[in-house]
């Protein structure tokens, strides 16, 4: 396949579908991160009592804060696993076609 710049030949439909899926995944994961983080910030800012609830000797805010950090890492993991795995394989196959 020529460089997928669309010059000359029409772009490969399988490739275009893949590009769309990638953009959709990026959007979804960004949205998940944005909503969970700003949900947390909104609680801190406008309802701090929720995060002050006692959990053992600590408070709910502590596991929630750590949970957000872990979530951020897991989300990047999901993305890189798909993009460096299935996605790159298809792109490589289409490019060599």
């Amino acid at each position: 396949m020529q460089h997928p710049s669309g010059k000359g030949a029409p772009p490969d439909p399988e490739l275009m579908a893949l590009v769309k899926r990638k953009a959709a995944l990026s959007r979804t994961l960004t949205l998940i991160m944005f909503c969970t983080y700003f949900g947390f910030v909104a609680l801190l800012a406008f309802a701090p009592d929720v995060l002050s609830a006692r959990v053992g000797a600590a408070t709910l805010g502590i596991p929630v804060g750590i949970g957000l950090i872990v979530l951020a890492w897991v989300l990047t993991g999901i993305y890189v696993r798909w993009a460096n795995g299935a996605y790159d394989e298809v792109v490589a196959r289409l490019k060599s076609k």
Partner: protein, 519 residues
Amino acid sequence: MPATQLGQLSPVAIAFFFAFIGVTLGITYWAARKTKTTSEFYAAGGGISGFQNGLALAGDFMSAASFLGIAHLVATGGYDGLIYSVGYLVGWPIVMFLIAEPLRNLGKYTFADVVAYRLRQRPVKTMAAIGSITTVIIYLTAQMVGAGTLIKLMFGLEYETALLGVGVLMIAYVLFGGMLATTWVQIIKAVLLIGGATVLTLLVLNHFGWSYGNLFSSVRALPNGQDLLTPGHYKVATSGFDLVSLSLGLMFGTAGLPHILMRFYTVPNAREARKSVFVATGFIGYFYILTFTIGYGAAALVPAKYMAKVVPGTPGMGNNVAAPLLAEILGGGPFLGFLCAVAFATILAVVAGLTLAGASAISHDLYAGVVKGGVSDEKSEVRVAKTATVVLGVIAVLFGLLFKEVNVAFMVGLAFAVAASANFPALLLSVFWRKFTTQAAVASMIVGLLSAVILIVLSPTVWTDVFKLTSTPPIPLKNPAIISMPLSFLTAFVVSLLTRDDKADAAFEEQQMRATFGG
């Protein structure tokens, strides 16, 4: 607690200190022979692996201010300090999902390359370089002031001597070793910092019988224990609205920091770029999780009087001392010495990365891109980059002396706000929005930059704390991003709709393909 050795030059600290300087200068000597071309100077020839770049990104990003500062905030102010631990991390997924790949695929050495990809080079690169240089100088000044204060606190060196030492070393790394030396300084620092923080965390857990229940019970038993464990007591923000503004700046600032963005050109392709964000997020996240234990460990174990403000006649030692004092209590003098050396390494790695990013904005964007119109020879561009390195180093030392009294956290906040308002919107829209025009890019960067700076001047942090004015500050927010960032986006939309850029429009498909698949 016995009298602390903090502020005295301990033999262990000196040994670690010279070992670090020796090793990093050795690396610089080695790197200097491989640093001749522009590609080698700016991007280590693109030969860094994803994992190495991940570690270097972590080393570039985690500042001594964030380590010592957050631990101290938590130990004295409680939960609200941890807002920074979470906020500094959540920008990384944004970098991964929206920025890393197009950046790697469209640019050569700087993020200005990407913003200018299908727009007119001269105006866009000029403004993007101004945004970069402003962010770099503000951040660099904050780091220098932090460095002078910390080294004085830890080694007992004079503030001015410490500043000069940091300035000379960082110029040496960047000037002779370019990106290759900077990368390895950052990798070594990341390993040292994460290792040091891990040992400190294990010592805390060991002290509390490996039980978080015991740790938090001890915190709860303190006179202010309830406050320490609940949010809303330490004033990191003036209101809930202001807190949202702070969080916005933290989340999107990371995606606009020139020294972070620049690191994506050191890896060979988008695949390695993705891997490096995953590795960086893992290490940085792990480190920030440790700050929870270190902060509360310090709250439980370090007597509050030592962590109080510096007032003559009292034992208070001011900001940043919680983690070092905790290290001394649990690990003794040698561990304190080690941690001081780690803090020093931490500062050097960040200022070297910043200096390199600032020098690249001057030589690659302004000199090669604007003055020479994209046609310059390697030799003269490297020469300009090296001159810029020295000039920036001198500016950093001078500003460090000049702004000695300014609050470091405020300057870091300002750098993030400028990055989120001036750099990030233009970068994002140039990649994703077809209708984005040259005029819109320039206008949004100007508006983002000016509004962030003006809002912070009119805020309590400058109006009251710096200018010492007694009147009510015109802007009640300490953090400008909630106004300046939307203002920058709004400017971009309005100006784009009012202007036409047919060339940019026509080049969008090609750009999108290249952003996705590389050249």
